[in-house]
Structures are given as structure tokens and as C-alpha cells.
């Protein structure tokens, strides 16, 4: 029997809290880790996998063995998808490694927004979707309605969807049988030239970069010379194996299987997700489809906050970069903030995640400046400068014109929201390309939008106007000439470069007013009045004033008051520590993040 018929490669997709992890745990519990035939030639000796069962396996791509009702031992490759569905590309490549997906739907909640977003991605990869209704144990379970919802909204059959309770462990055997029956087996050419998809990679201190692959055709073993077809680099394979769990070396990996390859690859950015692995001496004719070279689209400055060490931030950024091929950074300085870094991200969400990791995992206090895209500045003398940092914008007199990056955005929404989203895109200087109905209820809009209109909060606005059902994908298409200006902020008449941003002329006033108002609320009172001004060049376009404080005194301070008043003074002193001094004005660190959230109801 062709070994591939006994393999099932699938992922579990679900809306948050619908039970994905619990279900994964149950599947793992109800299967084994070792197949009978694993003891033969493919696996190395001295395996003691069963004792590994004691480890808590938390959602990693795992190879499981299921003994089916028909007596056969099936290999289940449960491929994990990244937590952030917004990182569409990574998710889509993980799904591309599968033949099917188990769609978990909480049948007390029904089909929800993120359910749909995941499903669309799976459908785009032509996966067989196996719906599975979870939380059947709860009194509020509505399995029949949920089945109807699935059929109507997704358009797939659900009448014999397995009913499970991941919490109680019921229905699991039926689910496992359904996986065998409904999810197709891989059908690759074992003898053909090697064609494998990289769907994930991590950096290991001992082994270098470990790439996680799905072999479509051919096979690979230790000693082979592999070629990564998009980056065109060649490496010697030092180890191959499966995740069962943890790395279990094997002699080879072949068509239909999922595993890992180590090849002394030094950096994750050399082994890009979505790339095709083949053999140098017998390369595949064509690459696997869907590869995208991910480039940072959004930049911002990250600076150590007051009292934080520069080196601490540098170390942390370096560590984060090790496992994140799309994250770039390089040193830069700011008159206002001192020494820091200019960092590049896939988008605003990516940036937020990195900043949050710096703060939580590395326990660092950092200041982030306004996110910005890369502008193409065409100088009067014809030369070109690519500017990411607004403070580096050359003097207006020397500039001929500025071009901004334009993206093509694919927006998928339920048809009810077409009007609202068209208005949103129009307000963001968008140009509609075309629109089509994907299904009776699902519409896809194609717009050209300036990237700097997309990076701030376009995605949040899209989600909120479509009650979570909207999804967005975009890619850079070209640079276009635009009326852009540099908006500066002055505190007490002094320019604070950390707040500078490049905006389209049409928005300069609104943005300037917004920033002034926000800063007025955040900057504390000083001994003198503090004028806050937004300016374009010499022209002040918005202004607010922070009044001087007149009274800050404890009227009564007798015996019993001393301890209490001391606490009050200490609190005041603490508050001052969080301030950053810009010339004569003290600005709290929150000010930098506050002016980023530009949330007018556009």
C-alpha cells in the first residue's frame, strides 16, 4: 500500500475561545506517538518516544499516530497556524502545507468573524474543510442551528459534522475517524525531484536555523545539498526529522510527509517562509506557488525611555530579530530622544507586537515615535533620497517633489458593509479598481490606497465597521507623486523632532489639531504657560495652551498628617520620573503613544 494513503496533513482553525487548544490536546491524547512501522528503517535507533508523552504539548506542529477502526496506523501531521490571523501570509503558508483543515465551531456561539477569516484562507488553498462542532456538553449548545450557519455562510456541508466536547473528551474518536475519512491523503511523486514548502522556521542555538517543511514530491536526507529556490542559496543537510514532539531525527523525509531540516543555515531571513526547497543537483522545474518576499512596510523609531539602557534595548531587538525575518532595525539618533533605532515592520500590528514583547518579555520601557512609511524624495538636482524618518526630510527648497508608496488592497467583507467601507476607502484617498461578489453574501473590493493611510488604523476601522468580519490584504505596487508636507510639533516654541510626521496636505490641519489637543491633555501644568503648536515649516496651523499651575500646596500639616503627606509628595516625585525633559517642558512617556492613535471617525 502506498504509504501516503495513511498520512493526513491538517490544521485546526477556529475563532478565539472556540476550543482550538483544548481540542488539539484531546487529539494528541487520543493518539500515539509511535507507529509500528516507525521502528523500521526510517527512524533511527534508540527512540523512546512514549515517555515524551508526559510533556505538555502546546500547539506545536506535531506528528501523531492514530490507529483507525480499519486497523491501519495513520500518521496525523497536525500543523499549527500562527496565533495572529492578521499575519495572513504565514497562516496561508502553514495551510498550504495541509490537505485539509478541521474547522472548530463553538456551537453555543455559532459562526463568528474570525471563523470566516480563517476559512477564507483555507478555501484559498483549496483545503478540504471538516467542520466540527464543539462544546456540545453545554446546555446552550445549538448544534443544528450552527450546522445551518456553516452551510449558509461558508457553503460547505455540515450535516454530518462530528459533535464533540473537547472539555469532556466526548466525540473525539468520531472526529479522528472523520479526519481519516474526509481529509484527503497526500498524492506526491516520491521519485520525482524534491519539492518541499517551508512553512515555518526558528533559530536554534545549536543547530542554526531549523526549517519546517512539507514535502510534496521527492525526498531529502542527511548529506543532500539543498537549494532554496527563491533566495537561490545552497546548503548541506545536517539533520532531518519529525516533530514527535520535539525534534526526532530520521534517515529521510519523503513526499507527503511533514518534518524539519537542519542545514547550517545561519539566519532566518535566509530561509523564508513560503520558499521551495529542492535538490541542488536535481532541482524541481517549478517553484511552489504563493511565495511572497515580505518587506517591511512600516517604520518607527524605538528609543530607550528615561532610565533605560541603550544596550538593553539593542540586545532585545537583536534577540527578536533572530526569529522574525520580517523585522529589521538599525541605529539612529533624535535631538529630542537621543540614541535609538529605526525599526521596520510588516505593519502596525507587527510593530505593536514587537513593542509589547520588548515591554513584557524583556521588561524594557521604550518610547516609540510615529510610524512612517518610506517616501521617495526627488531632489531639485534630480537625485533621489529614500526617507523613512520625517526628521531627515530635506529642506523644502531643495525638493522637487515627494512620492509616496501606493498599495493594492484586497478587502473582503460581507455585502452589507459595502457602502461603509467604500466611504472609508474614499476618505483615505483610495481609488477603487473593481469589486466582485465571491459568494452571494461575500464581496471583495480592490482599491489603490496610499500606504500611509493604511498603516495607522485602517485595519481597526475596517474591523469595527464590519463588526469583525472584514479582512484586508495589501501589497505594494508603486510610488506616486503626492502633496506631502512635514508636520512639526513645537513645545514652548521649541521643535521636538520626536513628534514630527509626514502627512498629506489635505490632512495636515486635522492631524495637527488632534496632536495639539492630545498633548494639551497629557502634558502636566508647569510653572509657566506652555504653548503647544503644530506647524508646517514656519506656518503654525494649530495651537493649544497648557495653563500654568497656580496652587500645589498642603494647607494643613500637623502631627498625624506627616506620614500621609509624605506619601503624597513621594507620589508626585514618582510622577515626575516618568517625564522626559524637552527643553523647558516635561512630557510624560505616554504622550508618544497617545499621539499615535489617531482615531477620528473617518
Amino acid at each position: 500500500m502506498d504509504y501516503q494513503t495513511l498520512i493526513r496533513n491538517f490544521s485546526i482553525i477556529a475563532h478565539i475561545d472556540h476550543g482550538k487548544s483544548t481540542l488539539a490536546d484531546r487529539i494528541i491524547e487520543n493518539t500515539g506517538l509511535v507507529a509500528h512501522r516507525d521502528m523500521k528503517e526510517q527512524f533511527l535507533d534508540n527512540m523512546d518516544l512514549e515517555r515524551e508523552r508526559g510533556i505538555t504539548i502546546k500547539l506545536q506542529t506535531t506528528r501523531l499516530v492514530y490507529k483507525g477502526k480499519d486497523g491501519n496506523e495513520y500518521i496525523f501531521n497536525l500543523i499549527d497556524t500562527p496565533g495572529h490571523v492578521d499575519f495572513n501570509y504565514e497562516v496561508s503558508r502553514s495551510l498550504a502545507a495541509c490537505e485539509g483543515a478541521v474547522l472548530v465551531v463553538d456551537c453555543t456561539q455559532g459562526v463568528e468573524a474570525q471563523t470566516m477569516a480563517n476559512v477564507y484562507l483555507a478555501l484559498d488553498e483549496d483545503l478540504e474543510i471538516l467542520p466540527c462542532l464543539n462544546k456540545i456538553d453545554l446546555a446552550s449548545a445549538r448544534p443544528d442551528e450552527t450546522k445551518d450557519e456553516i452551510e449558509e455562510m461558508i457553503g460547505i456541508e455540515a450535516h454530518d459534522a462530528p459533535l464533540v466536547s473537547a472539555k469532556e473528551g466526548t466525540g473525539i474518536p468520531e472526529l479522528l475517524e472523520a479526519i481519516v475519512a474526509r481529509i484527503p491523503a497526500p498524492k506526491g511523486d516520491e521519485d520525482g525531484p524534491l519539492k518541499a514548502l517551508i512553512f515555518d522556521s526558528i533559530y536554534d542555538n545549536y543547530k542554526g536555523v531549523v526549517i519546517f517543511v512539507r514535502i510534496f514530491d521527492g525526498s531529502v536526507k542527511v548529506g543532500d545539498e539543498i537549494l532554496l529556490m527563491n533566495t537561490k542559496k545552497i546548503y548541506d543537510v545536517t539533520e532531518v526529522g519529525v516533530m514527535a514532539p520535539g525534534h526526532v531525527p530520521t534517515r529521510y523525509l519523503r513526499a507527503g510527509e511533514v518534518g524539519y531540516i537542519c542545514a547550517s543555515i545561519k539566519q532566518v531571513k535566509d530561509a523564508r517562509v513560503g520558499d521551495t526547497v529542492t535538490l541542488a543537483e536535481r532541482p524541481a522545474k517549478e517553484m511552489l506557488p504563493g511565495y511572497k518576499k515580505v518587506q517591511p512596510m512600516v517604520y518607527c523609531g524605538i528609543y530607550p525611555a528615561e532610565g533605560e539602557k541603550y544596550d538593553g534595548v539593542k540586545d532585545a531587538l537583536e534577540k527578536l530579530q533572530v526569529n522574525d525575518a520580517a523585522f529589521l532595525f538599525e541605529p539612529e539618533t533624535s535631538t529630542a530622544l537621543g540614541y535609538g533605532f529605526r525599526c521596520g515592520f510588516l505593519g502596525l500590528l507587527h510593530m505593536e507586537i514587537i513593542v509589547e514583547r520588548l515591554e513584557r518579555e524583556f521588561d524594557l520601557a521604550v518610547i516609540t515615535t510615529s510610524p512612517s512609511v518610506v517616501y521617495k524624495v526627488v531632489m531639485a538636482d534630480g537625485t533621489i533620497q529614500m526617507i523613512q524618518n520625517p526628521t531627515n526630510l530635506p529642506a523644502p527648497a531643495d525638493i522637487d517633489h515627494i512620492e509616496e508608496p501606493i498599495v493594492k488592497a484586497d478587502i473582503m467583507i460581507p455585502k452589507d458593509y459595502v457602502g461603509a467601507i467604500m466611504e472609508l476607502c474614499q476618505n483615505r484617498r483610495g481609488k477603487m479598481l473593481h469589486m466582485e461578489y465571491i459568494t452571494e453574501t461575500r464581496v471583495q473590493l480592490h482599491y489603490e490606497l496610499p500606504l500611509n493611510e493604511v498603516i495607522y488604523d485602517f485595519f481597526d476601522a475596517l474591523k469595527s465597521k464590519t463588526r469583525g468580519y472584514g479582512s484586508l490584504d495589501y501589497e505594494f505596487i508603486r510610488y506616486e507623486k503626492s502633496n506631502l508636507v512635514k508636520l512639526d510639533v513645537l513645545l514652548n516654541k521649541e521643535l521636538v523632532d520626536a513628534f514630527s510626521m509626514i502627512v498629506h496636505e489635505s490632512e495636515a490641519y486635522a492631524r495637527g489639531r488632534f496632536v495639539c489637543e492630545k498633548l494639551k491633555d497629557i502634558i502636566p501644568m508647569h510653572q509657566f504657560e506652555v504653548p503647544i503648536q503644530a506647524a508646517i515649516g514656519q506656518k503654525v496651523i494649530a495651537r493649544e495652551t497648557v495653563k500654568a499651575y497656580r496652587k500645589d500646596v498642603i494647607a494643613k500639616c500637623y502631627g498625624g498628617d506627616i506620614s500621609r503627606k509624605k506619601k503624597l509628595l513621594e507620589k508626585q516625585k514618582e510622577g515626575k520620573k516618568r517625564m522626559r525633559q524637552f527643553g523647558t517642558v516635561e512630557v510624560p512617556q505616554e504622550a508618544f503613544t497617545a499621539v499615535l492613535k489617531y482615531d477620528e471617525n473617518k
Binding site: 497656580r550 500646596v553 494647607a555 502631627g559 498625624g560 506620614s563
Partner: protein
């Protein structure tokens, strides 16, 4: 040579709580409860006395509250007599009692005199009945006038009155009128405070609901500085942020608080600073042993409350170190206050100017 000690006695009873009051007290005119409380108090006095009288001589006693004068005269006398018995109280000790005009009469004042109370503090707040109503005081302006006159007749020659400004609805005119009359009465000592809206008081609720509005800071400060000018004009010395006195009549007990001198608090809610430890009685129950940093910093920021400020000589004598050596790091932060004239260093002292007092928290917080 014995050390000096001030004693503070807390009486947590009132006729009725004023709308703004955040102090530890409750409405209670039940003589039985008063007696019970005083009995416990006297037990404490006796035990503390035997512990401390060898080391300390008592030069000030302050009976505060609540409204100490809500209690029976003789009962109050018992407290003072107990103190004299258990402690080594100096002959010319300053002994103060806080009172409310409505609760004083000739008999009570006589008792006070006999017990040796030589200083009276009368809660006046305002000589305008409308303002008194807003505050929820139990007395009228006339009540105060009568009581003050009575106290003088009874021979009290060291009287303090408390005045309050920046009350909602208060105007500069009304404040000025109260000042004129208060000064004309010529009390030896005047304490003046702007209304603080404290959490947990009826005023706070009214304020939250928008029923009353806080007087803007600018007007508050105008009233403050105007009062100081009037007092000064009339021969009073403005010696602490909120206190004025005729020459030689500063409150010796309160000065201890701003000079890091020792005091013992007795009774519920009273606080002590003795043997380098700050602690508070039930129900506050705080306890903190001061370290060097606590002592030096507290010396500075409480000392800055006094108009004369902090003396570098005294600092050196007390701590064995030069002031600016210890507070080297603060200089930079203090520079803007020196520049604006709010903080003044001269003649070996560091003090706040009158404008400096307005924003004293900003300066004091540098030192904590």
C-alpha cells in the same frame, strides 16, 4: 538633662460633623461614652507616663479633635490632671484645647482655667452666617462673637482662631469682611486654610454631583495672599504656611511638627514621633522607624513650611553633615524655583517665598 516632649490628646467626638470634615471623629454627645473613652485614655497616660517621664519633660500639651469642648468640663480637667500626675509637665508648659463656640460656657471655661489650660483654639471659620451655613457649622457668627468675648473675660490671654477661605460661594468681599473683624478682635494667633474637598465627606459627594464648584486656584491664591497682607499690616507674623501670630505667640506645640521635635499622641487616631519612630494609634495603626534619609528629608520639607525655613547650621548640628552635600542631587531640579524666586537661599537658610508657598509641593517633592 531631660529631652522635651509634646503631648497630643485626641478627642474624637463632635455635636455634629461639618460637611467638609475629613478628620477622625463622630457625632456623639453621650456623656457615658465620653467617660468610657477618657478612662481608657487615662490608663494610657499612666502607663506611658511611667515609661517616659524619666527621660522627658513635657513642654506642650494639645487637646484636639473632633470637638474636645463637647465633653464635660470636669472630665476634661481629669485628663489634664492625669497628665500632670504621670508626666513631668513643665510649669510654663503651653496647654491648648480646641473648641467650638457653641459648646463653651462660663462654667466650662472656668474648669479649663483651673485645670491649667492656658491656650484656647476656637473654630470660627467665618463671620458670615451664609458661609457658616454652607459649611454646615453648628454655630452662628454671633455665637462666636459672644464666646470670644467670654473667653477674654475669663482671662484667656492666648487665643487662636481658625478661619477658612475659598468656600464655594465665597467672595473676596466676604473674606475681607471676616478678616477685618477677626483682626479687630485681636486674637494672639490665627490659622487660616482654604477649604479642602476630602473624599468621604458630604462636600465631596456634592462636588461630584456638580452641586458645588471648587473656587478656582487663582482666586484661592488671591484670598490667601490678601489675608497675609492684612495680617502683616496688623502686626501679625506670618510664620508658617497657614499660621500667623503676634510676636511671641507662635504655637509652640505645632512648631514641633515642623522642626522634627518629639511628640506623643494619645487617644484613638493620634500620631506620635518619638525615639525616631513615627506611629499612629488605632484605627490608623501605622509604624515606621525613620532612617537617615527619612530624617534628613523630613527635616527639610517640614522645615520649609516655616517662613524662616531650614537653617544649615541646625542641619549640621543635628545630622553632622553639610546640607548641600547631602542634597547635592537636588540642586538641578530646584534651579527653576530659585530662578523664579519661589525658593530663596540666604543667610545660611533655605526658605520658601510667599509665592513659593503656593507651589510648595513641587519643591518639597524634590526632597523626599
Amino acid at each position: 538633662m531631660k529631652r522635651k516632649l509634646g503631648i497630643y490628646i485626641h478627642i474624637p467626638f463632635c455635636v455634629r460633623k461639618c460637611r467638609y470634615c475629613g478628620f477622625y471623629s463622630k457625632s456623639c454627645v453621650d456623656d457615658g461614652e465620653h467617660r468610657k473613652y477618657v478612662k481608657t485614655l487615662i490608663d494610657d497616660i499612666e502607663s506611658k507616663g511611667s515609661e517616659l517621664s524619666g527621660k522627658y519633660s513635657v513642654d506642650t500639651i494639645f487637646i484636639g479633635g473632633g470637638t474636645p469642648s463637647v465633653m464635660d468640663g470636669p472630665l476634661t480637667g481629669e485628663i489634664v490632671r492625669a497628665l500632670r500626675r504621670s508626666f513631668d509637665v513643665e510649669d510654663d508648659a503651653e496647654i491648648t484645647i480646641e473648641t467650638n463656640p457653641k459648646t463653651l460656657d462660663e462654667e466650662k471655661l472656668m474648669e479649663y482655667r483651673e485645670a491649667g489650660i492656658n491656650r484656647l483654639s476656637i473654630g470660627c471659620q467665618s463671620l458670615d452666617d451664609e458661609v457658616l451655613g454652607t459649611l454646615g457649622r453648628i454655630h452662628s457668627a454671633d455665637d462666636f462673637r459672644e464666646t470670644f468675648a467670654l473667653a477674654r473675660r475669663m482671662g484667656f490671654d492666648n487665643i487662636n482662631i481658625d478661619l477658612m477661605f475659598a468656600v464655594p460661594g465665597h467672595t473676596m468681599e466676604k473674606w475681607d469682611e471676616t478678616l477685618t473683624e477677626a483682626i479687630a478682635l485681636r486674637p494672639e494667633h490665627i490659622s487660616f486654610y482654604s477649604l479642602q474637598i476630602e473624599e468621604g465627606t458630604p462636600f465631596y459627594d456634592m462636588f461630584k454631583k456638580g452641586e458645588i464648584e471648587q473656587v478656582p486656584d487663582e482666586i484661592d491664591r488671591q484670598m490667601y495672599h490678601h489675608a497675609i497682607a492684612r495680617f502683616r499690616e496688623a502686626g501679625y507674623e506670618h510664620y508658617e504656611i497657614s499660621n500667623c501670630a503676634l510676636p511671641g505667640r507662635q504655637c509652640r506645640h505645632n512648631l514641633k511638627y515642623w522642626s522634627m521635635e518629639e511628640y506623643l499622641g494619645l487617644g484613638d487616631g493620634a500620631s506620635s514621633f518619638i525615639g525616631g519612630v513615627r506611629y499612629a494609634n488605632h484605627p490608623l495603626r501605622e509604624y515606621h522607624k525613620n532612617n537617615f534619609r527619612d530624617d534628613t528629608t523630613e527635616f527639610v520639607w517640614t522645615g520649609l513650611r516655616k517662613t524662616v525655613g531650614v537653617s544649615f547650621d541646625e542641619f549640621r548640628k543635628r545630622f553632622g553633615l553639610e546640607f548641600w552635600m547631602v542634597f547635592e542631587d537636588c540642586r538641578e531640579e530646584l534651579q527653576e524655583f530659585f530662578d523664579s524666586g519661589r525658593l530663596i537661599e540666604e543667610n545660611g537658610r533655605l526658605r520658601l517665598s510667599e509665592e513659593g508657598m503656593d507651589v510648595s509641593n513641587q519643591i518639597m517633592s524634590v526632597f523626599v
